[in-house]
Symmetry: C3
Subunit: 355 residues, 3 copies
Amino acid sequence: MFLKNTWYVACTPDEIDAKPLGRTVCGEKIVFYRGAEGKVAALEDFCPHRGAPLSLGQVCEGQLVCGYHGLVMGCDGKTVAMPMQRVGGFPKIRSFPVVERHGFIWVWPGDAGQADAATIPDLHWANNPEWAYGGGLYHIACDYRLMIDNLMDLTHETYVHAGSIGQKEIDETPVTTRTEGDTVVTSRFMENVMAPPFWRANLRGNHLRDDVPVDRWQVCRFTPPSHIMIEVGVAHAGKGGYHAEPKDKVYSIVVDFLTPETETSMWYFWGMARNFNVKDTNLTAQIREGQAKVFSEDTAVLEAQQRNLLQWPSRRLLMLNIDAGGVQSRRILDRLVAQEQQQQPAGVAHPVQVA
Amino acid sequence: MFLKNTWYVACTPDEIDAKPLGRTVCGEKIVFYRGAEGKVAALEDFCPHRGAPLSLGQVCEGQLVCGYHGLVMGCDGKTVAMPMQRVGGFPKIRSFPVVERHGFIWVWPGDAGQADAATIPDLHWANNPEWAYGGGLYHIACDYRLMIDNLMDLTHETYVHAGSIGQKEIDETPVTTRTEGDTVVTSRFMENVMAPPFWRANLRGNHLRDDVPVDRWQVCRFTPPSHIMIEVGVAHAGKGGYHAEPKDKVYSIVVDFLTPETETSMWYFWGMARNFNVKDTNLTAQIREGQAKVFSEDTAVLEAQQRNLLQWPSRRLLMLNIDAGGVQSRRILDRLVAQEQQQQPAGVAHPVQVA
Amino acid sequence: MFLKNTWYVACTPDEIDAKPLGRTVCGEKIVFYRGAEGKVAALEDFCPHRGAPLSLGQVCEGQLVCGYHGLVMGCDGKTVAMPMQRVGGFPKIRSFPVVERHGFIWVWPGDAGQADAATIPDLHWANNPEWAYGGGLYHIACDYRLMIDNLMDLTHETYVHAGSIGQKEIDETPVTTRTEGDTVVTSRFMENVMAPPFWRANLRGNHLRDDVPVDRWQVCRFTPPSHIMIEVGVAHAGKGGYHAEPKDKVYSIVVDFLTPETETSMWYFWGMARNFNVKDTNLTAQIREGQAKVFSEDTAVLEAQQRNLLQWPSRRLLMLNIDAGGVQSRRILDRLVAQEQQQQPAGVAHPVQVA
């Protein structure tokens, strides 16, 4: 259950710099590569000659060359050349709209005719020298919607991440969830608490005392199809909290792009954008390492949860107030998927037929 | 094909001392843990909130706390508490009758209303200072009935365990099989033979000469659902064999609790209880190590046999006189399973419906 | 899709010298072993007693003894003996025609009544002291027909084996394909080219200069069911090419026996027979090592191609002139399989019924 007429993060630029990358997005097996002048391209990962994955090939002079028999494929899915062959009648393969922007490669796995690069989300912190970013990628064997639930309800930090970002006060502080169009926002504000280890380290990373009470906030923002940006931070208590002066707080955006691979597996692009001490690359590495550990804890829980749900497929889950963020996000997805399916009642038309 | 209204060994106490244990028994995914005052509890391994396995959680002040969002589960399957929530209307999960006795945790995977702890088998050697016990656990990818066949016909020792407990005379000595109610007993008595390596080591372990002929016996006793106790021993020849004085023999009980996991996999709790030289913990360790090696040889054969039976599902196997122990044990199981199914024609009623 | 009434290479002699070998050929699970006087035998890998694989057993005094309970099996599939048992009524298991010849063990997985050892291909280089041979075995997760395609079109060398035997001129030189009865021959002759690394090493191995232009040839010969012999070589340019004097060339036969395991997996017996410098065992080892590396490159491509074809089962592939060798070989197979199925419309009769 996923939207196809939308932009997903497919990979990061470094994944295609040296050679083509084969990756499945929303059930579509795609090869991503840098074509002429380094421009990113995305095609079905299937050579029209004998069916070998094009991702095993290499890019020569800006064109993708099949690693089996040397068929030269154009970024539009039309065969350009093949040694000793006339290729005019070769069947076209599908090409996917793909854009490099904000430090990510974005792909549109659905109807190419509807793709509009203007609808790629604007990431204000990307390409902004006042911000630093670090992140990573996990493959997780779960429905991406379990990760939406996870990120839109941070209550779990107390239990899953007890040693890093969890603290008892998360549990004890109510959340507020509101829906604005297709966006869902879940907020929690804690006042006058002691910071947990991850945040104490960040306070020190911004040259602030870590042994005094803080105000802490979490503002999770879901936008379709499955992008979740979480504003997180702590300020020395009584300095204005979320609105405190930069000198009194540390503040970041947890960046989560969830890309379905299949119905029960996903790619998790995670990271953190911060606007304090941005030149400190050691701090970037340290935050990244901390996040990697925290998110691997989620991975273990979500994969076990997915196995349980497959074992008991008919059981209904509870939807408590803390689950409102996930519940409302899924409602938006349900509505958008229904709209998409009404538009194309016979399924996504496949633009190419191989004779 | 297994009985559900009966007691199986689920685990050993050490497996749940530090943290909850998730284990599937007879197709039921169960979490085992120590609740209040260390009392063992068994529940469906499914948190009613979002379906995470409760076995990922931990026990706090005698109660099982879900590792995802902190739901506190009671040992009766009713939610006790959850931060910031009213839990009265939460659906109950299934609890399983469970008892700690004789050094094992016993679970009843069927209808809880029929569970009676008095029917847990009496192990006379357990908790008896005149006996010592050591054992282990193997997971085996085979129908547990293949292991019943294996243990109720020790002819295979000559071939599978040629280097430890096998000897040619096993083959050459007829077995006697008799059924007493629901119990099957298969016996073999060998007279005036040389002991094989495992028994020579045990003779030395009891300060007896190992280079003289012995009388050797094997008395395999099956009781439902799948418990097999095997009296084994050797006595110096001519001293009375099975009935010889303790000073002239070494005698043990091979302990085998077979617990179905699925139709084609099982948990094998194996061990040996002995009443000689019981204070010698080095001897206990040495016997355990020897058994571990011997039973790993069975594992390889049984898993290969299972794969063959799945490949040729319609082939009938031979039932020779040496197979009588297994054949008669399976007949008892067939009868008891048929009885159980007549009692509950619509399948095991599930006591809990999750709304 | 494979022929069953034909000879396949099942294994090499060394694989059965020490103990029985279990191997699946054309979907048949078979045990191969050396029986009386070292004569090879092949039986269903299923003990008629309890279904254990006979390949877990051992050969005692020329007879296969089951490793579970000591059943002694004859090479005709009839039980010879079992301790304490009368075996006259034991069901027979299937035996397969099997022949050791030319350094390989050949099996006939179909109707034994039609097997004729005279139809095993004649390998003129085997057992000929003027030739040396070295080879190996790979298991590959692909339909064996993908390997037929691969070997009957060496265009792929330019791309898959760029660092060893590939060179641009392969691509640029047309191939000729002809069918002679059930044999398909695809030839390519390149003139006045520089030898690639693998062939330069072979030139040196035959004490010939490696820095001068050569004429190079590839003559691929398919015979059913899936044997492909490829004459390959280089001669110093202008010395007669394929027909040059032995002193001016290096010449080998690439030996490829493809044995289906299942519809989507195969055993690949590969090797090289050469008639230069045949006493040099270091050279044999060096060539073998080079081939092993080259053929592992094919393995990676073919397994990825197989996964793609399973993902897109309805797509038709292109059949270009370079593919003619594979296409014509498949046509012969299609015809022979159709003939075989007409002979036995109800499937291969199973000669043994287990009571």
